[in-house]
Subunit: 555 residues, 2 copies
């Protein structure tokens, strides 16, 4: 059996924060039976992915080996872990396993995409396990910023792997199970071959803080507020939503949930029994009958998303409700890097209305869902793994985390997407480099990040666009003059004449002098017309636009 | 004389951080003689201003009143205060006044733009003053993160205004004058009618820290470093660049300045006598002969700018130099909101090389150049103004700062761009709302933010672009079939046929059925073809592209 091996291959999430997708395999080389852990998305931005709706890991490698895939485990319901499951399911088509709350969310996604939700199986928490080919897999409760996050205990003939998923060491997460050091000690007692571990907060030096530290301060804030109170957090942070709602009630306020995701998450949490005793809420319509200082809104859009409830309130009304001078708005959330400008825009819009905005800078109204550096050291101590593979982090996080492991004498490796590791021996070994990438969902189409589509969009955005149209007669002679249509370019440049007139004149000059050979050759003609249009624009406006040349021949 | 008044009108910088431009006027209503304070830029981003090179305040109001403009004062050399001076100078054409270092920078800009640098006049520090129409203006030294920042003391028959410019209360800024409370008390002793005051750090609760706190820690960091050491900061932070260089020398390293702005700033500071005893530097070429652990680079690009020295080093070589495993890179800077992703990209690239990155999160290697909340309270106490107008801040900063003033019994107002204030009485009064805006520099052309050019670019980036070409004969009958060229769109959609084929087929169907009236009418035809192309694309790929329709008629 020495030819059998245990492999680990991240297809997403290692070397980035987002679109998690980790493959484990066991068996003879090239015939390993496979399990996929998580299948998440990343969100696009204008800088690199304008017009894209969602970013997912390229699943080509796994698709080509779908016959070896035993199943998919989802650690928890955050979009970067669950978001691509329905979009990619058609290619994988194996059972999906998750705890009740996560499974509930996954089924909703499957249904929306037209897949059978019965493909999603609810598993009970550890010590219950699921047998999948050579693997036995259990989901052991972890505390995080969403209910029922699970660390996977993956057993194979090569030993036990613990894949933490996202976690923190919260003794009192308010909703869901606390972190249970005894359970994890017990899991580790016969040895952990490899710990594959969340690295998000490895640069945070202080021990992580408990969700339980927040209710008192939030209640105090709301009680002292005069007008209407509103607060935002991630809808999936069910414990926080509950804390906000309870604080509102204690402050004598009726609670309104605003935003589709907010209502859907609470619904899923109630349906699965994760959430009990959530305060009674009222509808936005009924809120109109409640005095403003007895009202509390809980809204989606903590990251400044333009279409979410928070941004809409900042621009004006949302479902008949609006904020006014003297109201309070709380961001019970941290702004993810890249979202600062959107969040700041909203804060300034509220400021213009006279609304007082409170954010997380005091540390009183938000705690992170990830393990900080001392917490990571604690989990290393508890699990005593033979090897450590940091995951869920950018390169800098993985490197820092691996360094932490090495300092404690654990064989550690920085493993990024596409590095297939053999975890069978005493230290992680690279066995192969797999080509990985990103798949974009754009409207209803999926295409690869390297297809050039987004590159062309960025170029048009940076440089503007010109259409050059030329018609040639049966003898390949120009029929009339060429003309230009521009988009995203100024109308006039240095000569004060219309930009299109200058370009058309230059193009016409060229056509009148062009030889028969050039005029007959589509590629050559197009190339020359493009060159002249760009040159002409450059001398007029100082930049070279993108050019589409349309040559029509009367043949 | 009671009909004469003192006015204040921000055209930029109030309600935003960037493109500062503040007008003061004194005289009968509508005939006030005017002075402009600062004329800066803001930097574009992909989200809102793709392809734009610089953003400047719209100067239309002032251009239309250029005959009433006496001069321009520049408080200091940061781009958001000086950056638009040469671009806008042709429209204003009045003397520019600044202290020596700032004037040196302004003259370089004037020369590059083809204006006479002699239009820039060097003024000495307070108590020297310049008479300009009804105004007497002095530049009183302020400490900031650039040498020779000045607070303006603007006297008119209606009293004294102090316009702080950017400042902090640094008793030992290392380069340039310390903050001088006695001088400012003296300036205030006969009363300050209005304090127009920097608001950038109003949310920072702790007293600001001195530049002098840094050298010891930075020297320690560099001395303990093993391989090559590199550090970045704003080139204009001459004190910091000096601290970095001196720390390098103390650590036994030869210093290399990398990046055009870095060399230019040091040159200007030496030329004007602001900087003395700057350590000897060596060229990048000579650096090749120095052992790596005796080398220190100081680089431009602390904000992640893609073309600056830091980003180039992160991608590979810059002027023959490169970083390696075990080297150290220090960000002696704060990341400005919106630049996080670019900076993080660089940190991860360095991480991949094995370079250790140190940033400002410990507080040991960077201090801010702006007054924090307690420092603002200190300046309020020192100057005892009758009224307070917060400037240099987003709306949230201005509002918070005005609140601070009100709490201390100072008549304060939140004044944003375009609000013309009468400062003559006991409290600031709005007298008029002026239309303000932004002017974009794009290549060699300037145009207004509302001209629709950038909007079209953003649409092409989000939606992709289709060119539809149709040729009609002398009878207005289609000559051949319509065709489509796409950019920034996937090649195939739901029907698996080429997207252009599907669109062309749909367009052809329409043309074959179209009546003579539609075919004769350019506008109608274009509108219909656009509609059909968008519909066709939507059913194929789930999104509606931008469309340019080119109708050619054989007349």
């Amino acid at each position: 059996m020495s030819s059998e091996r245990l492999i680990y291959l991240p297809l997403g999430g290692a070397g980035e924060i987002g679109m998690n997708a980790y493959v484990y395999g066991y068996g003879p080389q090239g015939q390993e039976r496979l399990v996929l852990v998580d299948l998440g998305v990343t969100f696009p931005d204008m800088d690199t992915t304008p017009g894209v709706d969602l970013i997912m890991p390229d699943m080509t490698w796994l698709k080509d080996r779908a016959d070896r895939l035993e199943g998919i485990f989802i650690t928890h319901g955050h979009e970067d872990h669950i978001g691509a499951i329905a979009h990619m399911y058609a290619h994988l088509n194996v059972p999906v396993y998750a705890r009740a709350f996560t499974a509930n969310l996954a089924r909703r996604k499957m249904e929306e995409a037209g897949h059978d939700p019965a493909n999603v199986h609810t598993v009970q928490a550890w010590p219950e396990v699921t047998k999948l080919g050579p693997f036995t897999i259990g989901v052991a409760p972890m505390s995080h910023s969403i209910p029922e996050s699970g660390g996977l205990v993956i057993d194979s003939p090569a030993g036990r792997v613990v894949h933490t998923g996202d976690f923190k060491l919260d003794p009192n997460p308010l909703v869901g199970e606390p972190f249970d050091p005894e359970m994890w000690s017990e899991i580790a007692k016969d040895g952990v071959q490899a710990l594959v571990c969340d690295s998000t907060n490895v640069f945070s030096q202080h021990p992580g803080r408990s969700e339980a530290e927040l209710p008192e301060e939030i209640t105090k804030l709301f009680s002292e507020a005069k007008g209407l109170v509103a607060a935002t957090t991630f809808a999936s942070n069910v414990a926080r939503v509950k804390t906000l709602a309870e604080a509102g009630v204690k402050a004598g306020r009726s609670v309104v949930l605003l935003g589709r995701a907010m209502r859907r998450m609470i619904e899923a949490a109630v349906e699965t029994g994760v959430l009990v005793d959530f305060p009674k809420t009222i509808s936005p319509e009924d809120a109109g009958n409640v005095p403003r200082d007895n009202l509390m809104l809980i809204t989606t859009g903590s990251q400044g998303e333009r279409r979410a409830a928070t941004a809409q309130l900042a621009r004006g009304k949302y479902r008949g409700l609006e904020l006014k001078e003297g109201d309070l708005f709380l961001f019970s959330s941290k702004t993810i890097p890249g979202n600062e400008k959107g969040v700041i825009r909203i804060i300034n819009q509220f400021s213009e209305m006279g609304v007082d905005v409170v954010d997380d800078s005091s540390g009183l109204y938000h705690v992170s869902g990830h393990a900080n550096r001392p917490d990571l050291e604690e989990i290393h101590r508890l699990l005593k793994p033979k090897m450590l593979i940091p995951m869920h982090g950018e390169h800098r996080h993985l490197r820092q985390h691996a360094r932490l492991g090495e300092e404690k004498g654990i064989a550690s490796a920085v493993v990024v997407n596409g590095m297939m590791m053999d975890l069978t021996g005493d230290a992680p070994k690279v066995t192969e480099w797999i080509e990985t990438g990103r798949t974009y969902l754009d409207g209803t189409v999926k295409y690869g990040a390297m297809d050039g589509i987004v590159r062309d969009r960025i170029r048009m955005a940076l440089n503007g666009h010109v259409v050059v149209t030329v018609i040639l007669d049966e003898e390949d002679e120009p029929l009339g003059e060429p003309w230009c249509d521009v988009k995203g370019l100024p109308e006039t440049g240095s000569s004060k004449a219309a930009l299109v007139d200058v370009m058309e004149e230059d193009l016409n000059q060229f056509l009148m002098r062009a030889g028969a050979k050039t005029l007959r050759d589509d590629d050559k003609l197009e190339q020359e017309l493009r060159r002249i249009a760009r040159q002409s624009a450059f001398s007029e406006i100082g930049k070279k636009p993108e050019v589409t040349v349309v040559v029509s021949r009367m043949r």
